[in-house]
Symmetry: C2
Subunit: 472 residues, 2 copies
């Protein structure tokens, strides 16, 4: 199916249907992405302020066979929000649709528009003494529509699940311009195919999410945070099992970090307070949120004592203040920034069956060593089996020195992940970065089903062409 570029006549057609305020200047804010890997292009940028106007724009694009790229906060790391090639697209930004449409405290539900910023949702939930647990580093600018379109993960997945698990209903505009009114606030609803989960994670290729009914949670009565030095990843897994044995679902975050991350932090962001005097080889950040009647600090102390006894941990600090808690988290959250400053030769967002992780860490090191001398910073959401596995040049070399090897490193590591039953995209999605990987590692039956679904729902292929599936 050939797509047409946005033309002056097409823009004129839109101008007749939409208020002037809906038009935005085509500028860098819509054409760049955090990793600087792609340069986007746009024929027109529109920011409608209501679902009906979103539908008008989609219908116009459908009728004219013009590509359309839904745009949230622009924080995606795999290029799903940009159109570097092909017909000049409409960029449809949700930035003006950020209302909280309703808060249903007794139902633990909030209905928000797709352009709402994640941090604003956190604050709206806190106002009614509730928690919206989805939390990612980009929360200050990421918008919930994009979080849902990419099924964002983050630091609380262990306890509360991915974005998918936090959504009860959606309102969306389908590729032919029909509005799906699916904002149900129901915990059980078995009325037909799961269109909600099909749109969630489809990265804007099957429709435009315009609003969502989100799950809220009671805030835990008490929270506690600790860092503990673990013997190795195996011990970290055993510690997690022990923690869950003690505290059940109360364990809300369990992040593994490596000495390499602390070294990069010390080097690139020396003002950040380090948790340990000497960098341990491996350590974890544990956060727990417990019900009434339990004291998180003493629960963490008991856990630590038992873990010492079992030889899993050798050192640990339980946060004694909110400032200390934040300092622990700052270490975790600034490691990606330190990584960025050092400049990786290759970065990977992967997941593995939990039990396979210790073995993977070993084998990954061997696979990389076989390709040359590199530094590895392997860290991430251990409780979800999700590692950010980043390969860095040795001191004195730069990312650019390894341009020729990047594909080889990626291939070797992804082959290993695939062999071990893992995923080459744990939480960042496919976007444009991993279209090849999906074709290589994806199950053929699933891929053919995906292509059939795409063709059925978006017969002209206007929705974010080239993301997830190769444009045909």
């Amino acid at each position: 199916m050939t797509l047409n570029s946005v033309t002056p006549a097409f823009v004129e057609h839109l101008r007749k249907q939409l208020p002037a305020a809906a038009f935005r200047e085509v500028g860098p804010a819509y054409l760049e992405e955090p990793r600087g890997r792609w340069q986007g292009r746009a024929g027109v940028v529109v920011a409608p302020d209501c679902t009906e106007d979103v539908a008008k724009i989609v219908r116009a694009a459908f009728e004219a066979a013009v590509p359309l790229v839904p745009y949230g906060g622009g924080t995606g790391l795999v290029g799903g929000q940009l159109s570097p090639e092909g017909a000049l697209p409409v960029i449809l930004s949700l930035e003006r649709m950020r209302a909280v449409r309703g808060v249903y405290t007794e139902e633990n539900v909030m209905v928000v528009e797709a352009g709402a910023i994640l941090q604003d949702i956190h604050e709206a939930a806190a106002k009614v003494d509730r928690l919206f647990p989805l939390s990612i580093a980009a929360k200050g600018s990421a918008r919930i529509g994009g979080n849902l379109a990419t099924n964002a993960g983050g630091v609380n997945v262990l306890r509360y699940g991915n974005a998918r698990d936090l959504c009860l209903g959606l309102e969306a505009v389908l590729p032919d311009g029909q509005i799906w009114h699916g904002l149900k606030r129901l915990r059980k609803d078995n009325t037909g195919y799961d269109l909600r989960n099909l749109l969630i994670g489809s990265e804007g290729t099957l429709g435009v999410i315009t609003a969502a009914a989100l799950k809220l949670y009671p805030r835990p009565a008490g929270e506690g945070t600790a860092v503990m030095v673990v013997r190795d990843p195996r011990a970290a897994l055993d510690l997690l099992a022990l923690a869950r044995d003690h505290m059940g679902e109360g364990v809300s975050a369990f992040e593994l970090m490596h000495r390499q991350g602390l070294e990069f932090l010390a080097q690139e962001l020396p003002d950040i307070r380090q948790p340990f005097d000497t960098h341990p080889e491996w350590f974890v950040l544990i956060e727990v949120g417990l019900a009434r009647g339990l004291d998180p600090a003493s629960a963490l102390e008991t856990l630590f004592a038992e873990a010492m006894e079992a030889g899993l941990v050798s050192d640990g600090i339980i946060a004694q203040s909110e400032a200390q808690r934040q300092a622990f988290w700052e270490v975790r959250e600034q490691i990606p920034e330190a990584n960025r400053r050092v400049g990786s030769a290759s970065s990977h967002d992967i997941s593995l069956p939990m039990g396979a992780i210790p073995d993977f860490v070993e084998k990954g090191r061997e696979v990389i060593a076989a390709l040359g001398a590199f530094r590895i910073n392997c860290f991430g959401h251990l409780g979800d089996g999700n590692l950010h596995y980043n390969v860095f040049p040795m001191p004195g070399k730069t990312r650019a020195d390894h341009d020729a090897e990047r594909d080889q490193i990626k291939r070797a590591l992804h082959d290993l992940v695939d062999e071990m039953g893992g995923s080459v995209s744990a939480e960042h999605g496919i976007g444009r970065l991993k279209v090849d990987d999906l074709e290589r590692y994806g199950d053929p039956a699933k891929l053919s089903a995906m292509r059939a679904i795409k063709a059925a729902l978006d017969p002209k292929g206007i929705m974010n062409p080239g993301a997830v599936l190769r444009a045909v």
Copy 2:
């Protein structure tokens, strides 16, 4: 698309490809359903013992354009497992595929074949000191493939979610006979469209689930169960909020029951021990599973005391033994049997936004009263907003006396549910019983997307034709 009946030549074709043991006699076990509303038919019943043979059968049906009905435990309540009309189908029973393929204790994952009986899965999980929380009354005969195909709910949804929430990966045969190898044991995997959730809840109309990777949970350190008399449904909701404020996710079941249910029990099953000397108008069954360091009985006592203070409850019993706990549950689980013996004029599996429930209970009563004199037994999974709303003849009359009014009652009640943002099928699914309701109350954009997906994945319409969507 015209479908062809199974012919002797087709059966012969299957016999050449499958072992003799795969063929079953066409008999009542495959042609009846629990409510006796439909009579199924079959041209042949096959029970393959491996996924490859399932694929052979689906491929043969695809090539010959013969309808195929996947068959689990046969416990569905909406006729999804039967083919009362149209071309004579193949019934594909999963009964011989019930192996536990793997237990990954440290990952809290179990991989089972689709024919595994739910109760057997519970026992396999208990053997490794884990919990598989999906629990429904039919657990002794329901098979996990059917539980997933219908996205079964049950009594633990409040804490652990529906069948959908308990599944990490699937293996399935798609309508063209391709095998999707999607048995990943991953908590995060953002590689393309969510085919897993599309198959879950599609009631066998998009493929045959052959195996699943299921989530297990640690068993709570201590459990407690209580029944409490509540002032009304409003008070029950407030009690639930209070319980979650005390115990967070620890609240695992919260079932609302009505005096009418106890009266039917006393009348139809007089041997069952009643929890209260006089039947209260409304009461709830609460079950909690708490982490180490908390005593469930004393937590329930504290809850009860605060709820008394707040005027929410007037009486209550905390189970002091496993026998007493089972007695409470028996009341809940035998109410449907008592209902069946009395014979409802009309039964409804509905859900509502939690906050709308008290209002719905009031209005429902008015709507029914406007249609005549009836008894109402409204009970169910209040914590999930899921009510089983059953309308009974007055004493001396029978179900048959109301045959003419059944549709009218259903319509009036479903109209009310729809008006209030609810669902006309909370946990039982659409099957064949609610195809009309789905067309009436379903969102038009969603319905057209569903039809497009069905046509794309099952172009000949062989998979369970007439279930969920009207056969075309």
